[in-house]
């Protein structure tokens, strides 16, 4: 192996390292990926096309996620008939943790488990919970990080109403 090749390899490794550690997160304007390709556990809602969709990443050990459940339930009940689909993406590594949680905190919306944590890695979230609000065309219109009680709930309502009107 000659020195210049070695130099190039070293440089390539340094550059690659910089990019590998940087994460690309979903942002406003991005399209909803095909969820069928992520091997999610549990049945996906039948028709997401043409619906306003909220993808909410949560886990059983996350306090604010638990806090968000009653609000999510009410949003689903209130806006479901008008075309809102809330899809909870669970990130527990152990399915039993999720089931125990759901026994205590019933979900009135669809929940699937991202067992391989592939979808969440694609979404590149920085905080639990994080959620993405998609319009009927399947484009990210709003993002949320964390759940801050009534304030976040109100934001959801405003956003969902604005998207349902269209």
């Amino acid at each position: 192996m000659n020195t210049s090749l070695l130099k190039k390899l070293t440089l390539a490794a340094l550059v690659a390292g910089t990019f590998i550690s940087a994460q690309a997160a979903w942002k406003t304007g991005d399209a909803l990926p095909d969820l069928a390709g992520f091997k999610l556990e549990g049945p996906l809602p039948a028709a997401l096309q043409g619906k306003v969709v909220v993808l909410d990443f949560w886990a059983s050990w996350c306090g604010p996620c638990k806090e968000s459940f009653p609000a999510m339930n009410e949003l689903q009940k209130k806006y479901g008939p008008q075309g809102l689909v809330i899809l909870g993406i669970n990130e527990d590594e152990d399915a039993a943790d999720m089931q125990d949680f759901l026994k205590q905190n019933a979900a009135a919306f669809a929940v699937v488990r991202d067992a391989k944590q592939k979808l969440v890695a694609t979404a590149g979230i920085q905080t639990m919970p994080s959620s993405f609000v998609f319009d009927a065309a399947g484009t990210v219109r709003f993002t949320h990080t964390g759940f801050h009680g009534a304030e976040t709930r109100k934001q959801y309502e405003t956003e969902i109403e604005s998207l349902l009107k269209k």
């Binding site: 070695l6 390292g17 996350c62 306090g63 943790d97 905080t127």
Partner: protein, 76 residues
Amino acid sequence: MRPLFLRLFLLAVLAAVLGTQTGCDTVKPWQRKTLADYTMRGDRDPLTDGMLDHIFFSREMASGGKGVGGGGCGCN
């Protein structure tokens, strides 16, 4: 052809860079189950808190001003 020591040096740098990239990773926000556990909280036991406070006060004439609220969940 460069001197041998330079080639060895570059090889060592390459090995070190590759080594750090396989060995290090950050805990992702969705992998914080263990960190979010109750036992990771510094203030989980009021009795221990009181005792430690007492020790600090006796030894250093200082009390309070330690620790932060919450666990390692990093939520919100």
